[in-house]
Symmetry: C2
Subunit: 668 residues, 2 copies
Amino acid sequence: MLADGPEREDGRTRVVIEAVEPQVDGGRFAVKRIVGDEVEVRADVFADGHDQVAAHVLHRGPGDREWRAVPMRPLGNDRWAATLVMGAEGVHRFAIEGWIDRFATWRSALGKRVEAGQDVAVDLLIGAALIEEAAARAAESADGAVLARAAAALRGADREAAVAAALDSGVEALVGMHAERRFVTRTDRDYPIVVDRERARFSAWYERFPRSSSPQPGRHGTLRDLGRLVPEIARMGFDVLYLPPIHPIGRTHRKGANNAPEAGPGDPGSPWAIGAGEGGHTAIHPELGTMEDFARLVESARAFGLEVALDLALQCSPDHPWVREHPQWFRHRPDGTIQYAENPPKKYQDIYPIDFETEDWRSLWAALRDVVLFWVARGVRIFRVDNPHTKPFAFWEWLIGEVKAAHPDVLFLSEAFTRPKVMYRLAKLGFTQSYTYFTWRTTKAELTQYLTELTQSPVREFFRPNFWPNTPDILPEHLQVGGRPAFVARLVLAATMSSSYGIYGPPFELCVADALPGREEYRDSEKYQIRHWDWNAPGHLRDLIARVNRIRRENPALKATDNLAFVDVDDDRLVAYLKASADGGNVLLVVVSLDPDHRRSGRVRLPLARLGLGPSEPFLVEELLEGDQQIWQGEANLVEIDPRAMPARIFRIARRLRRETDFDYFYM
Amino acid sequence: MLADGPEREDGRTRVVIEAVEPQVDGGRFAVKRIVGDEVEVRADVFADGHDQVAAHVLHRGPGDREWRAVPMRPLGNDRWAATLVMGAEGVHRFAIEGWIDRFATWRSALGKRVEAGQDVAVDLLIGAALIEEAAARAAESADGAVLARAAAALRGADREAAVAAALDSGVEALVGMHAERRFVTRTDRDYPIVVDRERARFSAWYERFPRSSSPQPGRHGTLRDLGRLVPEIARMGFDVLYLPPIHPIGRTHRKGANNAPEAGPGDPGSPWAIGAGEGGHTAIHPELGTMEDFARLVESARAFGLEVALDLALQCSPDHPWVREHPQWFRHRPDGTIQYAENPPKKYQDIYPIDFETEDWRSLWAALRDVVLFWVARGVRIFRVDNPHTKPFAFWEWLIGEVKAAHPDVLFLSEAFTRPKVMYRLAKLGFTQSYTYFTWRTTKAELTQYLTELTQSPVREFFRPNFWPNTPDILPEHLQVGGRPAFVARLVLAATMSSSYGIYGPPFELCVADALPGREEYRDSEKYQIRHWDWNAPGHLRDLIARVNRIRRENPALKATDNLAFVDVDDDRLVAYLKASADGGNVLLVVVSLDPDHRRSGRVRLPLARLGLGPSEPFLVEELLEGDQQIWQGEANLVEIDPRAMPARIFRIARRLRRETDFDYFYM
């Protein structure tokens, strides 16, 4: 009934490795980091009995042929750690190996025996044999001779010299270098880390419709017009200039202004109804300009520190060339028509969704990848992906993997405003950044709950939030009613809570609050018509945005998201949080009023000990939005906010007033 | 550089399955349940887009040839669940499959279109085709004709009849039964559940040295003597009678009384120094009796509802037959001696540990398994495993798996008083129950922290605690100084916090507090000498133990451990917790005083809403240790404890006084 004995490779493998960090879903997906990050790999490593174990992390960066071993150090309670430095962009992998350290076990026991005054004659013989084994393995190098001499000392007649040689730390180090690792346990799998350039984690996005960029009202804007605005956009401090789709727009069932089912003769249609006689996803809408104009825009934006990001909306207008060339990529109905987009009972007749259940899915996937590669070849390295949650997860994992394998600098932003598990799955499978629920999280409780989830739960390893106060699809209620103070508060929240954020402009800078009644939809939305914007209208936020973005660049604490820690403030419309750089050298306290109408004040309670401050030590705080300085003291300090003047404060806990001279300087 | 297209099996598999529960380490280890348990399997199941998904759990019990499908029901937020009933002992497995439910998706959209008054002519044709496909698959059964008629109705001229047929729930159910499941996603692995008999979770252990069971002082006790005590032990209400090793005891380096390095002529030695000329792990110490005596003990214990559990201590005295027959199973030193057990600088010369790193490990493992099977063949179904943490993890996983594959009713208790991760690993790999740190957790904070970890964290799925107030190795300090109140308090804590517990008797019943100075070691320990106990000495706890064990049997709330919930009581030496049966029909409140010296009183705060009680509703509580009844009302009720009288209260929240007649009855 039972076998004669165990059927397994080697039952003498005694070390166990558990609870590996960082990882996502047991290593199924990658954790995300940026170039230069230090990653502390941790795991429980232990064996039966009292023998000492040793372990190392094996690390292989993109392009590395060999694994590099980094020794792990014990943290106590059977936990071990090693720090890896993320050098190159791309997929890094690590694994962990653990084994019984026979020499260390022997040496530790010897030390205790010597201390207890026991006879160690036989123990020295055991140790001599271990050292001789290491000497044999080191025979090629100078270490071999050193080890052989040590072994001889252990076998020698001089007991004191023998014990000294046995406990010599240099000998231990040499034996370790030439250790025989028997019965090594290795993690069942390698764990991936996707390493991106810094923009993946720290980015300020500006979304703008090129067709509304004309200096003359009434004229269709062009890529050249937009190019002329680049210096202004750069002056506001943005890194990414994101354009809604720039492809030819379909004519069949084109929508009119305010989403009217029938377009009038002059209506330009929705840019998301992609494809017409002039071409599809690899063509440029003729009224916007040419491929050369696009190249020039990319070039001039780059000169101003801005990257052009394109919209990747995988859907077609009825006039898209693919409808004719690849009819099998669309779903056909029994009456011979092609299924248009629907969310019953709503109908979107100007758009055909792609049928990812087509028998021809392999060619379809390749064609969609080639669209991305087409624009990559034209200098685009960032894609904002429209509604990724309506295309299969497996497709995205493959597409992003394929593109990044060849171009690890390409970044993908997931515009998935959908159920939480779907959003997180998209992030896990490779999206670099993700839109979030921030847009609708407005109360202190909501913001606290959501930011705690994003920054403290396991999602922090794979979900990089990008906070948008508004988008062309969403003019949220609080911006419709809150006026300028609400726009400023949401700007500061987005730009300081999250290291990536974006606005849809110019409606944001101009505090446009004009919505269709009872909806979150802009009236006269640019999605369906061309608008002309007066950037210099009174009350615009351009200078303030420039200030906020400069504060972001100058303060390392704002270049990460998961370093956020809420602090208590005794007013439930004031929200306060600390952000600190990894080295602790840059600490900001942000206080934002969620009340756009009334003055608010509250005592902010700081964790002084965590900040390295004594209970009654005075310290200097510098407010960065308006530039004033204050001396604070003790745990609780009063913050007063008049939203009409400035609904937010960004304090830099600038310096500690440890020496009298600081006071002198301050009061000078 | 890039392939022409995706290299994968089918990119149209759109459903994702995540976050499967219950599981241990992603399915690497089994969760533990008992026969009759209902297991709710839960997972996130979702797809891209708006299509409806469906899922089922596949379940295969031990011996089942086929998987049985149990449909999952949606819980909201993309979470799904199905309930499996654990029928037979052994290893059950489950997997999850999910797919797009094309018909439900179509039907739901149709309903919305009909409601919006849209033309659904083409939609009815699509649905008719889906129903016809199901009809074709059901052609063999009567369902085929029903479905064919429904499809005909959808294609018919009568629009109202067509819509009615399309939305008919009977049609939906039939289509579901004959659904085509395309592009099914299955979990990457199966998830194991080890199902044991109830004793695995609910057990009261009594440990006793047979050699101290003689009715005459000075005579070596025998298995027959112990057999005569069985009725007394059973009367105390225990389920398991656990015997320290009963094998021949070595003579070489035998230890004397109080662990003296040299035994005197009459010293019996430690039963854990296993093996002598008379035999090893499959022999019985001649002074205890014969194999027939053992068989009779097992038999008579069973007649009184007691199972005999043996000690499995995998080590040898220098006189064990294996030392001669299998010298390669031991470690040899350069001077030709065999390595004895050590924890430097301590030496245990009466014991040779087994060298699990032997080249001959396969034969060794088989021999150790055969020891277990030898005793299984003699009616033993429970093993208390001595120091499992000093033998390789892989060995235990194999051994327990082998034994339970043939004998799923065999239970293993892990005596691993060691580091937490080692203890948990042993539990994961198969030990049925585990010793715990309870023995040293004495303050309210310690008990709260530890019980919360055991009952609320993931360890609850695999670690079944067995609480011991004392063992032959441990007479903890609080029992040395606390007197009878401390023994009673620890008894009630062990027996009501954990559904499995045990005592080492008779020292426990007799409140023996005599330790070696400054140590937790019993003076004149039975480990090294024979003791004679007067069970009827004044102050014995036998009647109280009987009462506690009867309360355990009569109250289902005490048959589980992870149903414990602490409640607030405003005295920091009083600890209070609720235990409720799964159906809520049996609710106990236990209050124990940790102060053996002084009266204590405190207000216990009950979660009335959770108990189904109104804020000012009176309710009857019945104290089970002393038998009095009280009417309580409101959230906070006073409990007073005089430790000299009774340091614990076990209240049954017996009935709600909803009707006047209850009051009448109570006040009668």
